[in-house]
């Protein structure tokens, strides 16, 4: 990135940690997360809001980090896929993805996980139709989606038993 661009000092809260950063206003939140903070779990695909690979949570709700500028995330809590991953092992939803073969190349997976986890957090009894509707904003080129839906259903049912 060119260094001559004017930078703005911001405080960014990501996964519970506050970072002080100098950013150019034109840098997307996705690029700030990846390039400034090394949080490369957030993937960048289309940069036009369509694919969902860059999905993160802003104050607990899924948003496109390619359609927000890093400067705009000041004063909010940003959560990335690293933030919903336990320090050792996998979350129940991640385990369900593994067990149900819900990923192949894995490019879509962080966005899928964040969307599905946000849905289950808000609605632990989400029905298959609601799960499919929520995931319709995340594209996957590999799995054909069925295994992803299976995984989310399994995580939902495991959560219900717990």
């Amino acid at each position: 990135m060119p260094t001559e661009e004017a930078r703005t000092a911001i405080e960014l809260n990501v996964n519970g940690i506050t970072h002080r950063l100098d950013v150019s206003p034109r840098w997307s939140l996705a690029d700030v997360l990846r390039h400034q903070l090394g949080l490369t779990g957030t993937h960048v695909g289309c940069e036009q809001g369509v694919c969902g690979a860059c999905t993160v949570w802003l104050d607990g709700l899924p948003v496109r980090s390619c359609l927000m500028f890093g400067v705009q995330a000041q004063g909010h809590q940003v959560t990335t896929v690293e933030g919903i991953t336990p320090s050792t092992g996998l979350s129940p939803l991640q385990t369900a993805f593994q067990e149900h073969h819900a990923l192949q190349c894995g490019f879509c997976t962080p966005g899928m996980l964040l969307t599905a986890q946000a849905l289950l957090d808000r609605n632990p009894k989400a029905e298959e139709g609601e799960i499919r509707a929520a995931l319709s904003g995340n594209l996957c080129r590999c799995t054909g989606y069925q295994f992803i839906v299976d995984a989310v259903l399994a995580a939902r049912d495991a959560g219900r038993d717990a």
Binding site: D31, G49, R64, C66, A133, S136
Partner: protein, 269 residues
């Protein structure tokens, strides 16, 4: 791709925002960013300055006004879907908003941004035209009130001046019962075509979106005795919105959307 460089201001109040627009001719409002930022990422739009209005709480209000609702321009689509007051007084607005994009898009996109963007297939533009809502806009010169008919001029074109900001949308409560239907290839896509219809007694109206250069509302003097009559009547009306012969397919979709929307009323949904 990445956007061109721009100056960035966070406006703390409507006054600050309109002052910035007055002082900087190259400035543009940044609301939810769900239409503007894709254009900037592809360098189809290169504003020299962005005035971010996301922190202006005064623009994020929903209130009862006369028989309808006054909705601040910064109210996000997902809130339109979930808000209790809207569900109670203007459920058709919640229904329309639920068809916008995907959850993550609705969590950011705003009603003001959708109306300023004026996509001919936008659900909220259609609803404003269907219910003949009023847009309240402000600049350093003062306040203007424009009806939806005056505001929407055509393809992505409105009567908004570059120095003006939409502050509020006033939507009167509908008379009669209403239905909404749209046809999309996948959930979350922009509609190929859609319809909002109303019925009171034998008469009512239909508003189509996604065909033509902006949504249009047509009076219906008689909804017809049966599906056949209704289909023929709607087909004739929809022809008036066709821009070219090759839109025949779209016209068929539009007619079917209106039929479905009407059926919704009949089924009491």
């Amino acid at each position: 791709m990445k956007p061109a460089a721009f100056e960035y201001i966070q406006a703390a109040s409507v006054e600050e925002a309109i002052q910035a627009l007055a002082d900087h001719p190259q400035a543009k409002i940044l609301a939810g960013g769900q239409s503007l930022v894709p254009l900037m990422n592809f360098r189809l739009n290169r504003p020299g300055m962005l005035v971010d209005v996301n922190n202006i709480d005064d623009l994020a209000t929903i209130a009862v006004k006369d028989a309808g609702l006054a909705i601040g321009s910064l109210v996000r689509h997902q809130r339109l879907v979930e808000d209790a007051l809207i569900g109670d007084r203007l459920p058709i607005l919640a229904q329309a908003a639920s068809h916008i994009g995907h959850w993550a898009i609705r969590n950011r996109g705003t009603i003001g941004g959708s109306l300023a963007h004026a996509d001919p297939a936008a659900e909220l533009v259609a609803l404003m035209i269907a219910l003949n809502g009023t847009l309240v806009v402000r600049s350093h010169r003062g306040v203007r009130r424009l009806t939806a008919d005056e505001f929407f001029l055509g393809y992505f074109t409105t009567a908004l001046e570059p120095t003006e900001i939409i502050v509020q949308c006033e939507i009167p409560a509908p008379t009669g019962r209403m239905g909404f239907s749209e046809v999309v290839r996948r959930p979350g896509d922009f509609a190929l075509a859609g319809a909002i219809v109303a019925q009171s007694g034998a008469a009512g109206w239909v508003t189509w979106f996604g065909l033509g250069s902006r949504p249009e509302r047509f009076s219906v003097s008689h909804w017809g005795q049966d599906d056949g009559e209704r289909h023929a009547m709607l087909g004739e009306l929809a022809t008036r919105m066709m821009l070219a012969e090759d839109e025949e397919y779209k016209r068929d979709i539009a007619v079917n959307a209106a039929m479905r929307a009407y059926r919704q009323i009949k089924e009491g949904k």
